[in-house]
Assembly symmetry: C2
Homo-oligomer: 409 residues x 2
């Protein structure tokens, strides 16, 4: 029995309905309404960094059960450029997707991964170097394409996301790097709070312009791995008039144990009537924990990145359920395996092709390989989240979660 | 008015109906019946070298109007191996395609491109070196993957194609390299004839085994650029009991003028009741000539290879028709071009995406780019051939052909 217990939104095109929650854990189900349609939560959010969920058409994105995906403002800013997307009529029109889209502030890419010269891995695992410098105004950084210099500020980030036309925006934050001193973490958090206010002010200014449907803005909580900072940041960000809450700085090097701690500190303080997004976290073995901690949406590149390496998920929904089970289709053992990736899986890949065929495609480096594996992996995660959503509805999530914890230990 | 004028086939699962032909040229329409469905001719045959038409699913292959495509026996032999495809239940089952498939003998790859060490370009334009040595028995060659040695003979080629389960096979021939002396060309042709007989004998032996639908065998005409040799080869190959005729050795370095000459010598001598395939030729500006010369099917990698480079066909069916017109979507000029690749084109790509979006995908090296361009290019060629087919039906082909010749000069 679904019961409406709270609702956010301002009569705008964006609102969140929290439906009933789990009794044992903080898991909850809800619906996020956006101008481009509804998102049932909890929901996994795949990453479409460059205005494409790698290898998939918009129809395929929908067919694997995805309602909402992530596009990175930083990438759009550099290529093709915000002006091009705006001229195209926004991201939806540009990429031919009429469902909801969430963009980030650009902060994570331009800034948070390092203070000076840093080396990071891009979406395909290749190392890149870059330079960033921070001021109170914003962040100056170098393009990873051509080394040219650029400045992002809270105001600019809001303008960029506004012009991209995504349904959900994220406030520009100082994504605290992992391993800094508490003093540095605090300074970074305080800057995040000042930037949150500037983001909100700019967003309201843009929202007051007529002729566009309302685009939602999530505030971002920082505070690194320090309990009092996380609590302070949570209290501050939730005191502002954001449409939803993003939890940042969790995917930047912390261990899964630390991630769980952060969620334990933060989530009890979150208002129940606003949607919550966990930034950059959502590996297969995280999903139960995130949902149990009360997360509504979470984005992660794992399913798509692993797929392109030939690594696919198996054993969803089986009795010996191990949500972290993967097989590497590039291994010789699959060369004559004429079964689908997962028996009983109803995704396009599993209903049409065998492991042997996909192994062959990877072996001879055919582009279709990456697509077929991507379809399966996103479908797999979406199906897992769907089953979890259903279990929250029917009250069996606690049992399912306990079984997951037991199976993992 | 379509009139049935001749029919080949032996009450088997394979037969060819020649319908009416053009009055002015040798252009003709027909239907090839195979155990996996009919092919209206003339038909362009895309290349799916490694049991995949690069980037496309089987549904997409069908959706662009393709009924028949090519798979290369040599590639299947090396990876995944004939035994694997056989164990999968044949190519159709292995790759999830239930329409007709044509395979080649493997000869073109293992042998014809050189006698000793040779350098050739693979499907992606990269140079590869290999070694081949010929005997009366067959051809020994080195794998382009790992350098291991292998032997192809006419008998083995037939067995491989039989096990692949393709609908149309090609006899194992000595594909004469370009630029050899007449003496060498003649010796090569004579070997082709002896191998044609051996191929036919083995094919009949395999066909007498019960429980499988009939698979057709085309004999292959050689003779290089020498008129008397081509005539001799045509007379000889057409005297044998093949289901269809392939014209080989035309794509191996000859100029388009020489190709036309070869067709002028060969086609008047071909029986009208057997289907004819031109091997490895079918660039956009060849298509009118091939069809005017009476070809039924022809395979070419051009549309798919160009697509992966970002080069797409435009101007099909327009008044200023230039069938060789292409644009390079990677050029900066398309960065803000919010029109489809071709206005009015009804392919998936043109009805869903703009040049600007596809330019962006190429610019940031997203895999979806290659697929969208491939879909358009194959659709474009298939549509051109469809329009030509219709014009042969309604008697306007001669006029259309004359207009093409005029537009080109």
């Amino acid at each position: 029995m679904i019961e409406l217990v709270s609702m956010s939104g301002k009569g705008s095109n964006f609102r969140f309905k929290k439906l009933n929650g789990d009794i044992v854990t903080q898991a909850r189900i809800g619906v996020i309404h956006t101008p481009h349609g509804d998102i049932e939560t909890p929901a996994f959010v795949p990453v479409g960094t460059q205005a494409t969920v790698k290898t998939l058409t918009p129809e395929e994105i929908a067919s694997v059960g995805t309602r909402l995906f992530f596009v990175n403002t930083y990438h759009m800013y550099l290529r093709p450029g915000i002006a091009v997307v705006k001229a195209a009529g926004g991201l939806h029109s540009f990429m031919g997707w009429d469902g909801p889209i969430i963009t980030d502030s650009g902060g994570f890419q331009v800034f948070s991964l390092g203070r000076r010269k840093f080396v990071r891995k891009n979406e395909d695992g290749k190392e890149e170097t870059s330079l960033v410098s921070i001021s109170e105004d914003g962040v100056e950084f170098q393009s990873h394409w051509d080394g040219s210099k650029h400045l992002f500020t809270p105001e600019r980030s809001m303008q960029y996301q506004w012009n991209l036309g995504s349904d959900i925006h994220i406030a520009f934050d100082d994504c605290t790097p992992y391993g800094v001193s508490k003093k540095d973490a605090e300074a970074s958090m305080e800057r995040t709070h000042r930037w949150a206010e500037r983001s909100l002010r700019e967003h309201k200014k843009l929202s007051s312009l007529k002729g566009k449907p309302y685009q939602a803005l999530y505030g971002s909580i920082q505070g690194s791995v320090f309990e009092d900072l996380r609590i302070k940041s949570t209290k501050y960000i939730t005191s502002l008039d954001f449409d939803g809450i993003a939890i940042g700085g969790v995917a930047v090097g912390e261990s899964k144990v630390e991630m769980k701690k952060v969620l334990d500190w933060v989530t009890p303080l979150l208002p129940s009537d606003k949607p919550r997004h966990l930034l950059g976290v959502g590996e297969l073995d995280d999903i139960y924990e995130l949902i149990a901690a009360g997360m509504d949406t979470f984005d992660c590149v794992q399913p798509t990145r692993l797929a392109r390496m030939g690594i696919v998920y198996v054993h969803s929904g089986s009795k010996n359920q191990n949500p972290n089970c993967v097989i590497d289709l590039t291994k010789a053992q699959f060369g004559e395996d004429f079964t689908p990736i997962e028996k009983g899986c109803t995704c396009y890949t599993c209903t049409h092709f065998t492991r042997a065929y996909i192994h062959h495609l990877f072996h001879v480096r055919e582009l279709l390989a990456y697509r077929l594996a991507t379809i399966h992996n996103i479908f797999y995660v979406n199906r897992l989240v769907f089953l979890i959503r259903e279990s929250i509805k029917d009250g069996s999530f606690g049992k399912r979660y306990a079984s997951f914890i037991k199976g993992r230990s």
